[in-house]
Amino acid sequence: MINRLKKIATRHGLPVYLGVPYEVFIRLYAFSIFRSLVRVFISPKQPMRVDFVIGSYNSGTTIIKDAIAAHPSICSAPIEGDQLSGVISNNECGIAPRAMMVNVCEVVKDRRDNSVDTEKLISDLRPWLVKGKIFLEKSISNTIRINKLRSAFPGSKYICVTRSVDGVVKGIKKRSKPAGVLRQILAQDAYPDSILLKQWRMFYSLVIKDYQDSDVHFVSYEKFLESPVEELQKIFEFMGLDEIDLAYSDDLLSVGDKALRIKGREKSNGINYLGSYAELLSAVEEVEPIV
């Protein structure tokens, strides 16, 4: 139990006596009633810009978001924006954690609905916004809605994290299980590879479809593990951020005065990096189309 609390606190970079209440606050904030109560006490703020980290589930979006958010010009929420606001949905519908694709019609509806209530979203995220800083939002569901985010947040940038299909499929299977009616339908306690393969293809083919050279930057998770400093420099440059001291040794990535532990370098062994549009396109074409 104590270890678990310590882990929670570490995740937020806080001591246990602050980290645990903060976690409780975040969990409560996922409820709209609590949000509306809290909002009374927090004044609204306007970030300089909103940028997005997108990609498939389990593709390394969290670690890359955390690394970017360590830059002093960036602020971010501790969890996905689609959990902290009712404006955007995670499309998992309570039955498909890390497998929104099974809710096909919800995904299609989300893509075709062109409206995002920008004001409400910004208002919901106010505890984590800092005036004059770029707000970095990371929700996997944003991967399917790049075009409408472009309209809602003109000038926004998209950091698309890619990872090999095998790594993504294995990771999701390890961390998530189907629930409710989906579990009954599949008649098993684990996601079949077929669904996760299709989902990987869906995410990245939609990114390819919505791609614009000017505002989408690809970063391969495996390449990031291999050379985090170089990859982070490229991201900062793409986002137009000031140069900052970066260093990496003994699994520790230093970004200015902040440090992050980056493990799993061995995951990059023998992997073809998907760090560009062309590499991603070729990988997507290799995976069987959805039928």
Partner: protein, 313 residues
């Protein structure tokens, strides 16, 4: 089709006496002229759908098309069910077991109809002795009979009695669109049933969820069973069906999908029931004409979702 416009799917379980062939019910219904009266009901339905240009899905028991006992393929069935089929076929009236005349009527609105499978003999998954292989054979038989007769692909299936135990086995052979009961997978005790029943007075019906399966198949949950005939609480059920269908139409918002399902023979049980359904059809046609909703088949609904992901990168 507009992905955001609210949608209604209407599906029929078209089975005549096949739905209860292993019980004495078909004899009672036959004696009450229910299946005979259904012929007239069909005329009203066809007229209503034709006038309103409403698209519907008809999940047919394949054996409704059999012209003789020799055409029935029963080898895959458990012996007791096979015996029931044979005695049903031999002892029932043509209007109880045969649907060719009704299919002729249905073909008048051919372009508005999706033909779906309801298996070949209405074998249900919980029937003692049914195997996955036997069940799949029954589905395969129905698909081949229906496709041959209608000259087009069968893309949807309704599990008899909503029993979907062999869904994955069927999906491996036939990755179709399957309709599921809204309570599929839920263990509902008596208390919960009472609470759910009470909830029907003040809550809207559940929206239809579309869920992708492991083998390329899709599942669509039902929303409203449009039937109040029979049983102890007929007047309450009638009130609730009226209330819920009205509430469903009035509370529809962008992106909602509702799936209404029924058995045509239920509409032959009372004139009032038929009138109520025809009024429902007129209501949705009016709302459709006003751009408030779209009426689609099971296949239309999934086809539209699939299209979004079918592009070549």
């Amino acid at each position: 089709m507009n992905a955001l416009c609210p949608k209604i799917v209407i599906s029929f379980d078209f089975e005549l006496g096949w739905g209860v062939l292993d019980s004495p019910l078909w004899r009672k219904r036959e004696a009450d002229s229910l299946y005979l009266d259904l012929r007239q009901v069909f005329d009203h339905l066809i007229e209503a759908f034709s006038e309103s240009q409403i698209r519907t899905t008809w999940a047919m028991v394949g054996s409704l098309l059999a012209k003789s006992e020799a055409e029935l393929d029963l080898e895959h069935l458990p012996a007791s069910y096979r015996d029931s089929v044979i005695s049903f076929y031999r002892e029932s009236h043509e209007t109880t077991r045969g649907g060719l005349d009704l299919v002729d009527k249905l073909q008048k609105i051919d372009d508005l109809v999706e033909i779906a499978s309801h298996t070949s003999t209405h074998i249900y998954a919980e029937y003692p002795g049914v195997t996955a292989a036997g069940y799949v054979s029954d589905v395969s038989n129905s698909i081949s009979v229906l496709e041959k007769y209608f000259g087009r692909s069968v893309r949807s299936l309704v599990f008899p009695r909503d029993q979907a135990r062999f869904n994955n086995d069927v999906a491996v052979a036939h990755p179709l669109n399957f309709r599921l009961n809204p309570n599929f997978g839920k263990k509902i005790g008596r208390l919960n049933r009472m609470i759910n029943g009470a909830g029907r007075f003040y809550k809207n019906v559940p929206q239809s969820k579309v869920i992708m399966g492991a083998h390329g198949e899709y599942y669509q949950t039902g929303s409203l069973y449009f039937n109040w005939s029979g049983g102890k609480y007929e007047s309450i059920k009638k009130y609730l069906t009226t209330l819920q269908s009205k509430r469903m139409l009035s509370e529809m918002t962008d992106g909602d999908v509702y799936h209404v399902w029924l058995h045509p023979f239920n509409l032959a049980e009372s004139r009032e029931h038929l009138e109520q359904f025809l009024k429902f059809i007129r209501d949705i046609a009016r709302l459709r004409d006003d751009g408030m909703l779209e009426v689609v088949t099971m296949d239309d609904l999934v086809g539209e979702c699939k299209k979004e992901f079918f592009f070549n990168v």
